[in-house]
């Protein structure tokens, strides 16, 4: 049994070589000490991004509010940035944003939730494994493609059925935006529902309740906060969506509730003004940032609200 000790004797003296190498490892020691700092500096780029966004929006928006009173901006119903006597009322844009979001949520809310119910409560493992990746494809389609689809396909169909609808209108992009948001609501709500413990379902099913009754009376109430959070995130997504409404809803700045007409959202306004090469330093240029700041506050509030809801009301199972 002496092969082991022989092996060590014959062997090169590794431990000695290591000890010698240790002495000359000062450079790598220094490197080792610098690593955390280097990584921290790279990680702080994300913080710089936030600061950059805040600085950009705030500094330019303040310029705008020096020229247009805040109160006038937020309560004005007339938006005529290019006219001789320009008026900068934000309400038409807020109106367009809210209406397109409502239309989108009319589609995405129920269909997304019902998809989630099917995937979480009814679908077999095999069916779910096929359907979920397909739904993810829907989420991966670039928004410009949806915009094209709304403008060249959905709008003509709507107009064939309902001739009063204009060539550019808020209805068609709202509907298409809803389709785009379905996978988001479906997958987030499904997550919330699958995390409801099976014991709760079994308790209901064992008393003779049908799957539908169990879903409506046990699963959905238990997953309610997660479902609401997914809706809020969907709303945030709709508010920030740009290309679909830019292409299919045109640039009319009318303050109207008529969904057959063209309306402009905050995002579409930014595209129009930035793309129109507004001269830097002009009031219309600064208005870009005031609108973007409002948009930023809207979506940030929604995202924080979603996180608050899912944390605060998280069910303890």
């Amino acid at each position: 049994m002496s092969k082991n000790s022989e092996a060590k004797k014959e062997a090169v003296n590794v431990s000695e070589m290591i000890a010698q190498n240790k002495k000359k490892k000062n450079i790598s020691n220094l490197f080792e000490k610098l690593i955390p700092t280097i990584l921290f500096l790279l990680a702080s780029i994300t913080i710089l991004t936030t600061l950059g966004i805040l600085y950009t929006l705030l500094s330019q928006a303040i310029e705008f509010f020096k020229r247009v009173p805040i109160w006038e901006f937020f309560t004005g119903t007339v938006l005529k940035p290019l006219s001789q006597n320009p008026e900068f009322g934000l309400l038409p844009l807020i109106n367009g944003t809210i209406i397109s979001t409502i239309i989108a949520m009319f589609v995405a809310g129920p269909i997304g939730l019902m998809s989630a119910i099917y995937l979480s409560e009814y679908a077999s493992d095999r069916v779910r494994r096929i359907l979920k990746p397909l739904l993810e494809i829907l989420a991966g389609i670039p928004t410009i493609v949806y915009g094209f689809f709304a403008f060249t396909f959905v709008t003509p169909i709507i107009r064939a059925i309902w001739p009063e609808v204009e060539a550019t209108n808020i209805l068609s992009p709202g509907l298409v935006m809803g389709v785009m948001i379905i996978p988001m609501i479906a997958s987030l709500s499904e997550d919330a529902m699958t995390s409801v413990p099976n014991a709760m379902r079994e308790g209901s099913l064992a008393m003779g309740a049908t799957k539908l009754e169990t879903t409506l009376k046990v699963v959905i109430p238990a997953a309610f906060s997660g479902i609401i959070a997914s809706f809020v995130l969907g709303i945030s997504r709709a508010i920030g969506e740009t290309m679909i409404v830019t292409i299919a809803s045109g640039s009319s700045k009318n303050f109207t509730f008529d969904i057959t007409q063209s309306m402009q959202t905050m995002t579409a306004y930014i595209v129009e003004v930035a793309g129109g090469e507004a001269p830097a330093g002009s009031t219309i240029y600064y208005s870009l940032y005031a609108v973007a700041l409002t948009l930023f506050v809207f979506t940030l509030t929604m995202n924080l609200l979603a996180r608050y809801i899912s944390r605060k009301f998280r069910e303890e199972y």
Binding site: I38, I111, V145, L212, G240, I270
Partner: protein, 295 residues
């Protein structure tokens, strides 16, 4: 004992309840299929409209106002150039940030501050990133509306996605492996570089490709940066002006009311973009399946 439940009544009620359940089950299924139906219609429609316009001249040709001669080589090259910026920038910053958060930062205020910040950034509308890029890269740093400005803007936009997926990838590496390495006397960085990163690499690459495909499809930030519509010269470097596939689709769609064929060109370009995304995602799925370790 008083009978509280009438058996016959219960039975007849039960039948209707079971029927109701079956009806709703089909409604739920139809809802799920609705999204997929729209997806199918969208793809069929685009292919029918655009497929016949795709040929080698379209792919390699220059832009032209004449629909029959127009090509998308410039936009393709622009997209490739932007990818060449986005890939290294997001990989380096994203992986470094993920390593810092997962392996170096102490659990506490700084770490949770950075993580909260990242999840907030993920929810900022892409058009706001456009304004950031316009103000910082195009104007302040005076790059102009060139490849570098577009690439950096899109990098910042998709960085949160990559960071979160890289964090998950690092977290999935079993602690036993790093324990074995520390047990051999390896330093922290040696362990990260030689054990943790190689083990997490497939998942990191998958996340990187997925965030890249998000960047490629983005249009809104580019419109704000002032990426031009009609650009004849091809981009050849980081400081050249460029256009990209989604921008090309955008302008052709807008001008479809002027020249009807432009809608077909837009559809053809959409096919090219979707094929590109499909290839990228297939590669990502391939990497994920092929190199997934069974620890």
């Amino acid at each position: 004992m008083i009978k509280q439940v009438d058996a016959t009544q219960l039975k007849s009620k039960m039948n209707s309840r079971v029927r109701k359940n079956a009806i709703w089950k089909s409604i739920f299924l139809l809802s799920t299929l609705f999204g997929l139906l729209v997806l199918a219609v969208l793809i069929i429609r685009v292919v029918m409209q655009g497929a016949s316009w795709i040929d080698i001249d379209f792919l390699t040709g220059r832009l032209s106002t004449n629909a029959d001669r127009a090509g998308i080589m410039g936009a393709l090259l622009g997209t490739v150039w932007v990818m060449l910026v986005v890939i290294p920038v997001t990989l380096i910053i994203g992986v470094a940030t993920a390593i810092y958060l997962e392996l170096y930062a102490k659990r506490g205020k700084i770490q949770s501050f950075i993580e909260t910040n990242i999840s907030n950034l993920a929810g900022v509308p892409s058009i706001v990133y456009g304004l950031l890029g316009l103000t910082i890269f195009v104007r302040l740093m005076d790059f102009g509306n060139v490849v570098l400005a577009g690439g950096l803007t899109l990098s910042l936009l998709v960085l949160p996605i990559l960071i979160v997926s890289a964090q998950e990838a690092l977290r999935a590496v079993p602690a036993q492996l790093s324990e074995a390495s520390y047990g051999m006397g390896a330093t922290k960085w040696q362990t990260i570089r030689r054990i943790i990163l190689p083990a997490a690499l497939p998942s990191i690459l998958t996340g990187s490709i997925l965030s890249l495909s998000r960047a490629i499809g983005e249009t809104a930030p580019l419109t704000v940066l002032g990426i031009p519509a009609l650009l004849i010269p091809f981009p050849g470097g980081l400081f050249d002006t460029f256009t990209a596939l989604p921008m090309q689709i955008y302008y052709w769609t807008l001008d479809a009311s002027l020249v009807a064929e432009y809608a077909n060109l837009a559809a053809a370009t959409i096919i090219v973009l979707l094929v590109l995304l499909f290839v990228l995602n297939s590669v990502a799925i391939f990497i994920r399946n092929k190199f997934q370790h069974r620890y």
